[in-house]
Symmetry: C2
Subunit: 334 residues, 2 copies
């Protein structure tokens, strides 16, 4: 039995979902992989809880859920107010797991790698802005840096491009990578105006209070940038072309419908060229997904056309990607 | 630059497609992976050509294409009539690549593993009948045994189950895994009788002269067996339930159509239960594929429903799976 120690940074909805999967499926992972995960640190924005012997995740979840913040911890674990940059260097974890939204997380990802720790992340900006630097740092040290959950939640498009389609040269990827815009466009097809549809999405928790990341195509743009880095060569988010759905009118939606098509926010990734924009897609297209499903059509020189479709959001669904990466990294370590 | 030596067993259509990909994309693989492949042996049913320094694949392809058999070789390489079981032990290859249809190939796969060589195969019966023994032998020696091309050609369903969906527990797989039956059923929908449709498929090279492997669901059954071994636990082909399309009538096809559905040969894989049979699927289902496309719907505890769809046959498409495996194995060796 190999034991692997983890530091979990970010304890919002996704972080707690990851903790719950590790807790509920710990026994399964021991049996299937001979791996035992020991979470030695958990951080939210209020505090870092740390015990080199390992934390009781059930307790940590309870405190967070009862009090809303880890700084309320009144137990025998140590509670620190270390910023992540220092925490990742200090704690004795094999793997650092980033499920925060910290836009500047690349600094502590690099710090983690420098201190000999592998990194698993669902956080997109570090890769959308610093892919080349981060991957080089990880490769130089022979450490895992895995990021399945950054694109299409746990639907394994990253693993597919990075680890399985090795003989093929990718020619293009077309994909719907953002579920919030799909929801709004679908509701507009059913007669709502843009503002109404957006408000409804916010009420349902599908769109955030500040919805600009989804609406303006920033989220899809981050993901498309990451796909380009993987399939071709490293670029940054600043180099892509992007138009959101904020100017889409009911008239546009109706027109698409009259043409037998449907509007979706489509990411196109070709060598040296990435765009995100609302496009009319045929109703029979694999890209005509609904709700929070994502889909990608990957064209390669040998295989031709490959379609992968699955959850693009959701807590368990995102935890799936994070935990699969944790296992993958752990299997390389033990 | 890491050099990896290969022994290629089987030099029919798929074997030659693999050789062509290695030849045409050799430079690309050197640049992308720092890997140089050196094919030191090539065998067809007539002979084994062998040069420890490496063969000129262009020449080997020419001889095969001009004379139809490698035993016609009149050059300075050594030509042997070793059976594969002896050949795999003798040649100095890091990896043995089986693209034959040898039903008894498990014997020489085991022999290859015993002599310290990794195995890549597109040949299904060894896995459909001897999965447990083979995988155990490979794991015991820490050698790669990869088989992406056995199911859905190069469409990476094997990699997906084996290497990326690590945190998820698979609940079920439903899939269309045989293109020949899809072709015949599609033509029957267009008005042909079973015999007519079959003859046409044979004329086009889609069905073999002896079509029973496809028609009776044996090919799909092999593949479904392999998926069960991967997703759950090892079983053999003898344990699955199977009904082919040989008794499907024009009346059955018409009925499905009247219900707004379409008949496909569907493999269902659940823990301890595998079936292959013609089923009516809704026209909007991911399983309502056409021509040689294959599709699989994988349900898991965390991700929910995942669809993968792509080529299920074809020479380049099968070579994609074989070559991706060769690269994957090589990256683990060098």
């Amino acid at each position: 039995m190999g034991e692997v120690t983890l530091g979990l940074f970010g304890f919002g909805n996704v972080g707690r979902a990851v903790a719950r999967v590790l807790l509920e499926k710990g026994r399964e992972f021991e049996e299937r992989y001979g791996l035992k995960f020991n979470v030695v640190g958990v951080a939210d924005t209020s505090a870092l809880i740390w015990d080199p012997e390992g934390l009781d995740l059930r307790e940590v979840l309870e405190v967070k859920e009862r009090f809303g913040r880890l700084s309320e911890w009144r137990n025998d674990y140590e509670v620190y107010e270390l910023p992540p940059g220092e925490a990742v260097a200090e704690i004795n974890a094999d793997l650092v797991v980033d499920v925060t939204n910290d836009r500047e997380a690349h600094t502590w990802h690099l710090r983690a790698l420098e201190s000999g720790k592998g990194v698993i992340t669902s956080n997109k900006p570090p890769l959308a802005f610093h892919y080349a630097e981060i991957i080089e740092a990880a490769e130089k040290r022979g450490l895992p840096y895995l990021f399945e959950a950054t694109v299409m939640a746990g639907t394994p498009i990253i693993g597919l491009l990075r680890e399985t389609l090795l003989g093929d040269r990718v020619e293009s990827i077309e994909a719907v990578l953002n579920g919030t815009t799909t929801y709004i466009l679908s509701r507009m097809e059913e007669g709502l105006g843009f503002e109404e549809a957006l408000k409804e999405a916010q009420k349902l928790g599908i769109a955030e209070r500040d919805p600009s990341g989804d609406i303006l195509g920033i989220d899809a743009g981050y993901k498309a940038t990451i796909l380009h880095c993987l399939a071709f060569y490293p670029i940054t988010f600043d180099e892509i072309s992007r138009r959101g759905i904020d100017e889409i009118t009911s008239e546009d939606v109706r027109k698409a419908r009259e043409n037998g098509k449907t509007l979706r926010l489509v990411a196109k990734v070709e060598e040296g060229r990435v765009s995100v924009e609302p496009l009319e897609v045929p109703r029979s297209s694999p890209l005509a997904v609904s709700s929070t499903q994502n889909a990608a059509v990957i064209k390669t020189d040998l295989l031709g056309e490959l379609v992968i479709r699955g959850a693009g959001a959701g807590l368990k669904e995102t935890a799936s990607g994070v935990v699969s990466d944790i296992i993958k990294a752990a299997l390389g370590i033990v």
